[in-house]
Every structure is written in structure tokens, then in C-alpha cells.
């Protein structure tokens, strides 16, 4: 069970801020493929992962990061703070 969070336009495209999913995906990239195959809105949100960032357990990470032991994954566009 992993909490998956979405922010900014990723949240808007997918239509929800957070969901808890059961997955056998081994990496972030695997999880993305699994989500894309689920429904069109996921396919649209993840169409270009180079435009996305991922945080694994609240730390910026990479799409090839392993999911073993991870509790929270977040997907979002590049940050625009300040």
C-alpha cells in the first residue's frame, strides 16, 4: 500500500489529490506505466514524464528509484516557489 499524491496540474488532470494504491511495481517508472494503463486521465497526466518531478517519501527523487519500503510517492510539475 502506497500513498500516491498529485499536485498542481497533475492533480487537476488526474482529478484527485491523493489515493492509496496496491501495486507490485518495483520502481517509480513501473508505477507510472501501471497508472497510465489504467485510465485515459492518467495517460494524459503522465504523457511526458520529462515535464514531471517525483518525490519519494517527501524527498525529491528519480523515476528509476525503487519502491521497496516506500510509503508515499508524489508527482508534480517543476516547482515555482519564491
Amino acid at each position: 500500500m502506497i500513498d500516491v499524491m498529485y499536485f498542481a496540474w497533475v492533480r487537476e488532470r488526474i482529478g484527485l489529490p491523493k489515493e492509496t494504491i496496491e501495486t507490485r511495481a518495483e520502481t517509480v517508472a513501473d508505477l507510472v506505466e501501471e497508472l497510465k494503463s489504467r485510465e485515459e486521465r492518467y495517460a494524459m497526466a503522465f504523457a511526458d514524464v520529462s515535464a514531471l518531478r517525483v518525490a519519494v517519501d517527501q524527498e525529491l527523487s528519480d523515476f528509476d528509484a525503487p519502491l521497496s519500503g516506500v510509503r508515499e510517492i508524489a508527482f508534480f510539475p517543476p516547482m515555482t516557489g519564491g
Binding site: M5, F7, A8, W9, R11, A55, Q58, E59, L60, A74, F76, P77, P78, M79, T80, G81, G82
Partner: protein, 147 residues
């Protein structure tokens, strides 16, 4: 070191009035304040800022820790707001106090450069034409190579 992520407005004067006052060796105080701009080409009515509660505080704390390691600082303050703001409103501020001005200036610029593209905030501009997420700028990412 103080990190605050809040919806409420803040008062720059009040924030710096009590800042680093117990550190009598701090002769230099630098502040940066980010303000919602009024865009000339459209009518910006609201700026909405979303953030990632939990990660935001951690990310800002890590950036401030890095600054404290790289420069000799008496104190560091970071305040960043989220929620809805209007043109002219203050979005965020950083303050750095140091013995020497060079440390205070460099640390403040470092904090801003990292905060811009490494702290989980996203800005959305809402105008009379609709709303749009602000795109990150290549120059903001490039600014990090300086450090």
C-alpha cells in the same frame, strides 16, 4: 533558524525587528521579499499557491541547513505563504544575519535560488481570461549551477 509555511500575511518589519537581536556580532542583515506582480498583459486578479504540506517544511529546512553550513550566519529566517493572494501581496521572505555583508548577501541569494526550484510550491495565475499554472523557468534551474 526559523522556517514558517503559512496562509496568513506576514509583516516584514515585525519579522526582522526581533530577528538575530540576541546575536550582537551580527552587523549585516539582508532580506528578500517576493511580491505578487501585476502583469501588464493580462489582469491578474488572484495568485494561488499550492504546496506539499510536510515536504515543504523539510525541503526549506534542508535548504536553510545547507546555507548555514556554507556561510557564517548568525541566523536564518524563511517564511513562505500558500493560498490565494492579490497583486501587491507579499508571497514570501528570507532574512539572513551575519557578521559580514558578503555572507549575508550570498546566503540570501542561495536560499532564493534553491527555494525557487527545490521547494514544493506551485503558482497559479488567475486572470479575467481564466487560470494558468506558472511555468518554471530554465534560468531558475540554471541559477543553481552557480553554487
Amino acid at each position: 533558524m526559523t522556517i514558517r509555511v503559512q496562509q496568513d500575511a506576514f509583516d516584514l518589519g515585525a519579522e526582522v525587528a526581533g530577528f538575530a537581536t540576541d546575536r550582537k556580532d551580527a552587523g549585516a542583515l539582508v532580506t528578500f521579499t517576493g511580491i505578487v506582480r501585476d502583469l501588464t498583459d493580462t489582469d491578474l486578479t488572484v495568485m494561488e499557491i499550492e504546496h506539499y504540506p510536510g515536504m515543504t517544511e523539510k525541503a526549506l529546512g534542508a535548504i536553510a541547513d545547507q546555507a548555514a553550513k556554507r556561510w557564517s550566519l548568525a541566523d536564518v529566517l524563511v517564511i513562505h505563504r500558500y493560498g490565494r493572494m492579490s497583486p501587491g501581496d507579499r508571497i514570501m521572505m528570507v532574512a539572513t544575519a551575519a557578521k559580514h555583508r558578503k555572507d549575508a548577501f550570498e546566503a540570501a541569494e542561495f536560499l532564493m535560488d534553491y527555494l525557487k526550484s527545490r521547494a514544493p510550491f506551485w503558482k497559479k495565475e488567475i486572470t479575467s481570461d481564466g487560470s494558468e499554472w506558472v511555468n518554471s523557468k530554465a534560468e531558475d534551474e540554471a541559477a543553481l549551477t552557480r553554487w
